[in-house]
Amino acid sequence: MKPKIVIALAGNPNSGKTTIFNKLTGARQHVGNYPGVTVERKEGYCRYGDMEMQIVDLPGTYSLTAYSTEELVARNFLIDEKPDVVVDIIDASNLERNLYLAVQLMELGVPLVLAFNMSDQARAQGHEFDIEKLSSYFGASIVQTVGHKGTGMKELLEAIVAAAKDGASEMNRNDENPSGALLSKATIHSPFRKRPVMDYGREIEEEIARLESLIKLKVTGKDKDNLRWLALKLLENDKAVRARFDTPEINDQIEKSAARIEKMLGEYPETAIAGRRYGFISGACREAARSTVELRHTISDRIDAVVTNRFVGIPIFMGLMYLVFQLTFTLGDPPMGWIENGFGWLGSQIASWWPKGSKGALKSLLVDGIIGGVGGVIVFLPNILLLFLAIAILEDSGYMARAAFIMDRVMHKIGLHGKSFIPMLIGFGCSVPAIMATRTLENRRDRLVTMLVTPLMSCGARLPIYALIIPAFFPQVWHAPMLWLIYVIGIALAVLSAKLLRSTILKGESVPFVMELPPYRMPTLKSVLIHMWERGWLYLKKAGTIILCISILLWAMTSYPKKTVFDVDYEADAAKSEGTYLSKVTRLNGLLGLPEGAPLLVQALRAELVMAAEQDKYYEHEAGYSDAKKKMDDEILGLTQAPDGGKLSDFLKMRDDVQKTRAAFEESISQDEVEKESSAYSNLSGIRDAALESLRRAAPGTYNAVIHYLDDIEAPFKDEKTRIEQAKQAEEMAYSVAGRIGLALEPFLRPMGFDWKIGTALVGAFAAKEVFVAQMGIVYSVGKADEKSEALREQLRSHYSPLVAFCIMLFCLVSAPCMATISVTKRESNSWKWALFQLGGLTALAYVLTVMVFQAGNLLGIGV
């Protein structure tokens, strides 16, 4: 006994199923999976009167003969799970085509309600229906609805309840168990309304009768009522039903029946049967529907005349694609900044629970591991949602089907057809929903090829890698072309690999391309948002689950095991370098006119070092921070009041002025991203030089001493300090698990010009491409790094050549798709074989290609 009655919403794609589903269930819905095949299954609940209903939104299907995975899911649900009522959502403005499924549902014998949706459009186009008559032809109540306005929902629910009671009373008569909710009402309900039976004509009816009598002995239970339907399906050569009656005797009879029908009608049985069904529909519509049909498509056709035109079709398409990407990136930028700042704030908030400079494992896990990792992914949500929004608009308006038409000729050349283009387009957002979108492809080989090459469409997650590297190595004018080049390489490789796959392991006749072209329709905001969200959610789920786990794992791999005894005594090195610094400072005395060996300057600068070390332990708002400053100020004040102290304060003041002038220049350069060699740059440097010159003129001696100090004494000291810190961190990193993996991989990476540090980051990138940048930040210990980190760019520039940089981008573009992609490929292809093939194939391709590019570049001396 089922606890509730189950209602299935079936219907052609785009007839408004999801819209009506949302209207009926409101917020009471959830998304699950169909067992076996993973197609998101949406179910929700709805109460009407005292009836609790579970409503299932099925994928769109044109007929009960399933051609694509999506259609198969809908069919299996209807046949195997036997919902209490099936509601066929019909686009009433395109009645004949939509009624084809209704005829089949009628034959299936399920309690049926027909919703004539889009009745607003039907009316506007001049269609009129005799609902009474149509209802008697199909043996089902018909309700006229307008999905997005919610018109007719109450009537629809009434009809559903009535149909459920009908169904239950019939089941009761047959000694079966209807749903509990229906039991009490069913017994007092009037006898079941007899369903009309389609007449297929003498030749076919005879064969149906033959098969019926043959299978009668083999069926049990509920199937007994379905004898006619089963016989019909056998005659139609339906794979699933034939498998249920796979005996030599029955197979033999089916062959004979088919041969007889072919001989008499000159058609295969399934063709003849479809013909009769369409004949029945035509007849019904002639009797009960009036329309000025020719008017229907004129606007649509007029748009199509332009959009699918041989000459302007492709330019329009290209223009739209350009617009989509342009909008995605420009509109996505501000919210990306907000999210970035949000996570930055969250990280610093959490970090402040611990004293500054603390190296606690938990703090590091939370801040560097989790917030850094997951934040890095969520940042791309605006971009991805915008792309999916644009795609949803294109789909809902009907343009996407035209794009598939336009692309068909191109796709045909690589052995695929137009429909494969849509998943590839989604692939620019995220491969996971893209691979799921291949479900609309009917042919398994087409579907596999599309799935396998989709990761070559450079997804949103790979963008930060390019965004980090391109500005670090290439001049401004090259930025856009470089990015474009990377995308084009991806597309070209996808095309080539598709062609290769199609002519080797996935060879086979190219499947016929047939596709409905829905009329253009103004997309409604709500449905566009729902469709955007359905795909965006898949991306978010990836961030929430896989990437969270991976972030933790990677964090652990880069943090452990901890090195406690170092190969080099870094503290001694640091002390030595400080000693050298201070002794050089002593030699400045001469330049400043101080007596040789005078301790003033050394003492003042040492006080500064002491303060810096002390301040490292505190946050700026803490007392310790300002205490340290005060202590230093007191000390220096004391020193300046000593004899010759004036010279010291002159020196310090001049130093601060020079530093300020230089810093102001650097800041305006980086703030406005001023290019070297530009006129703005020479302007700014002119201003700086003039300011410095006036400082020099005021006190030439002090000025020269300060410049000597800053450039020849302090700068090398600071460099040395960073070098020591980095050497220490590199040693720690090399000791960690990730470092060891990177080191172990180094011999294989060398031919591509990569070192072990890139190797460690690539390990992270396998988990999720987004992680690469953060991981580079960790190996170069520039702290929390994102794709805008100048410090990290500086490090990269000093370690790698532009050629290597290009190779990194190339490798990341092509190599192993992220784990989420592999796992979705596994689910969708239903085998590990193809998932591993994708992983291995793409990695091998990336390797070979990158080695070739690096070696050739090296030989020719390009970018080395």
């Binding site: 049909v293 498509h297 068909d408 047939v514």
Partner: protein, 71 residues
Amino acid sequence: MPLAMVKAGQRVHLVAVDAGRGLQARLADMGLVPGVEIEVVSNALHGPFIVAVKGCRMVLGHGITQKIMVA
């Protein structure tokens, strides 16, 4: 004559589909059954066609248009 030869704007009737059983059934499911009226909305040499069948627009790949016999 094959549908591939029909000019845009012309209306013809389907006579037979000269293809394997699977494709025949597939097309019949979409309403391309013998006797049905087909209007060619747009045609491209060696490219896909757009046709109107029972007031519904559909795309037929180049290969298919050669297999559909019309009069």
